[in-house]
């Protein structure tokens, strides 16, 4: 399987001037390296402040790394010219957690959905309309919500809309930054199923960033554990779950709340 994404020694340092003019530095990523094969799912787990979101921003080309390499489909994103980046960006899409206010209240659902198509300007109105409705269907949203304001959608519906919008530009890599964390458990299950379905039908590669180990382990082929800007453990999900090598990973696992389960019915084994 070819490597879709290869991160080499990524470092990101933030330097800010505070209100009084003093210079302060903050090391968010301290030499992160990993690779993701096409069509697989990598989960990046860690506590808040471990650098996961910064990593997501860098890969999505929203932030420039201080140093290191970011290979995507053979191109080094860190050194690529703006022209190349413009072609590459649509292929990587980022989905954020669902704060109810992040979707513009002025536009109806359909407007939000086709915005990337409008900005790209390659399709005409009819084509855009067709594509919009087909996207809604893809993510399991009923066409009659197309003209409602986003405030009328539930949390799960909003995330489906976000995914539909991300799919508009035919990405090959979807980065989900805590995209499920704010949702109810049963809704998380629905979105998780959708993601798995999209992965298998579109050969989508997923980068799943979260502090929810349960969902990470369920969705991902591999898990990378981050702490203080570094990856401290990386391996197949089952391995990391059953034989964690680092103490920090063990602590993380120990903190995961678990439902006491009756033994599974025969049908599912």
């Amino acid at each position: 399987m070819e490597l879709l994404l290869k991160v080499e020694n990524l470092v990101k340092r933030y330097a800010r001037r505070n209100f009084a003019g003093a210079r302060q530095e903050f090391l968010a990523l301290d030499g992160v390296s990993f690779a993701v094969s096409a069509g697989t799912t990598l989960a990046i787990v860690g506590e808040s402040g471990s650098g996961k979101s910064t990593l997501a921003s860098c890969i999505a080309c929203l932030e420039t790394p201080t140093s290191g390499n970011l290979w995507f489909e053979g191109t080094n994103l860190v050194q690529a010219a703006e022209r190349e980046l413009r072609k590459i960006r649509p292929r990587i899409q980022l989905i954020f957690p669902d704060p109810a206010s992040s979707l513009s209240a002025r536009w109806p659902v359909f407007g939000i959905l086709v915005e990337p198509l409008v900005l790209q300007g390659k399709l005409n109105r009819n084509e855009m309309k067709k594509r919009g409705f087909s996207l809604l269907e893809r993510v399991g949203l009923s066409p009659d919500i197309a003209w409602r304001p986003p405030s009328e959608l539930s949390g799960g519906q909003r995330q489906r809309l976000a995914i539909a919008r991300a799919l508009a530009l035919d990405p090959v890599l979807l980065i989900l930054d805590e995209a499920l964390s704010a949702l109810d458990c049963s809704v998380q299950a629905q979105i998780a199923n959708l993601l798995l379905e999209l992965q298998s039908s579109l050969t989508m590669t997923l980068l799943f960033i979260t502090h929810d180990l349960t969902m990470a382990a369920h969705l991902a082929d591999e898990i990378a554990v981050m702490s203080h800007g570094r990856i401290i453990e990386h391996g197949p999900s089952a391995e990391v779950l059953r034989n964690p090598r680092q103490e920090a990973t063990r602590q993380l696992l120990a903190a995961v709340p678990r439902l006491p389960r009756a033994p599974l019915p025969a049908a599912q084994q």
């Binding site: 933030y14 800010r16 505070n18 209100f19 009084a20 003019g21 302060q24």
Partner: protein, 324 residues
């Protein structure tokens, strides 16, 4: 923090200097000078005019005049007034004092009325009392200051309750101290009323909006859930969190010297406004420059105060803006 303060002070200082240069430029580039009026008088020989001009250095090059003006400022004189034949500074200070008596009172009064009114309105958002206040403030906003001032003057004329202008009665000096204060108050009443009425609508709406925003905030509901009494909730939780009001107050300070020109002129209040107007018309340039400078300093100081207040009140702005 100190670095920030010093930097802002430096900026303010540069701004004031810049304004003074601009004022200098504009007043001297404007056609005419003080002595032009005298040209119309056939009894004054043209040579006298030339001599006067030389005496007052009006024929020296601009930078030289500017430098000598700066020198004068440093000596506390701020240039020379042709009309009054004395240095500018004491004239300005006297007039500025009169203006401040008016505007400080008006500002304090306006805020004292706007705060409780706005809070009361915000608490009853959408209900009848709030709508009533919104309506009245909108109506007030639409009425021009001039109309307000004139309207109040007519009131004074008809009822005789208030003097129709000026700052002091003719026999002011002979009054007892108590009566002096009463006399001043009576003369102040109308101009202050005009200023307050014209400032109220905007203030009340701002207070209302800012407080209404805060009243919706989760932390206020949480505090209510903790059994914090209503009064404490409003004045120690809601108001302090209404940040826009702090900045607004700073700007109110900034407008202290510049906001009352119209009222002073209409009501013959001997403040900075009419004095400057007179000086502009007479081309008494150093007075004009000095007046502009005064107003600018106040404005800049007001802005500075607004920033400092905000900094003091909101610890989030104080803290470093570090990520994570």
């Amino acid at each position: 923090m100190m670095r920030y303060l010093l930097r802002r002070l430096a900026h303010a200082f540069l701004l004031v200097i810049g304004v003074s240069i601009l004022a200098f430029l504009f007043t001297t580039l404007a056609p005419g000078n003080y002595f032009d009026e005298m040209r119309l008088n056939p009894q004054i020989a043209p040579e006298t005019l030339v001599a006067l001009r030389t005496q007052y250095q009006l024929n020296r090059p601009l930078p030289v005049r500017y430098a000598s003006w700066v020198n004068s400022v440093l000596h506390g004189e701020m240039g020379f007034s042709f009309a009054y034949n004395t240095s500018v500074a004491p004239l300005l200070l006297l007039r500025a004092k009169n203006t401040l008596i008016l505007t400080v009172t008006a500002t304090l009064l306006a805020w004292a009325i706007a705060l409780p009114l706005g809070v009361w309105s915000a608490e009853r958002l959408g209900q009848f009392p709030d709508r009533l206040i919104s309506w009245s403030t909108a109506a007030l906003l639409v009425v021009p200051d001039l109309a307000l001032a004139l309207g109040l003057l007519v009131l004074a004329l008809r009822t005789g309750w208030f003097p129709t202008g000026g700052m002091a009665s003719v026999d002011f000096e002979s009054l007892s101290s108590l009566n002096k204060i009463r006399d001043l108050a009576l003369h102040m009443a109308l101009p202050v009323a005009t200023l307050v009425l014209s400032a109220l609508p905007l203030l009340v709406r701002h207070v209302r909006a800012a407080v209404a925003d805060v009243l919706d905030a989760p932390f206020l509901l949480a505090a209510e859930g903790h059994g914090i009494p209503r009064r404490t909730l409003l004045f120690r939780y809601a108001l302090p969190a209404a940040n826009p009001l702090v900045s607004l107050f700073g700007f109110s300070i900034g407008a202290l010297l510049s906001g009352s020109l119209l009222v002073e002129v209409v009501m013959s209040w001997p403040g900075l406004g009419p004095f400057l107007l007179e000086a502009i018309l007479a081309r008494d340039i150093y007075v004009v420059i000095g007046g502009v400078l005064f107003s600018t300093i106040f404005l800049v100081a007001g802005n500075f105060l607004a920033d400092m207040l905000l900094y003091w009140v909101d610890p989030r702005i104080r803290s470093a803006s570090t990520p994570g």
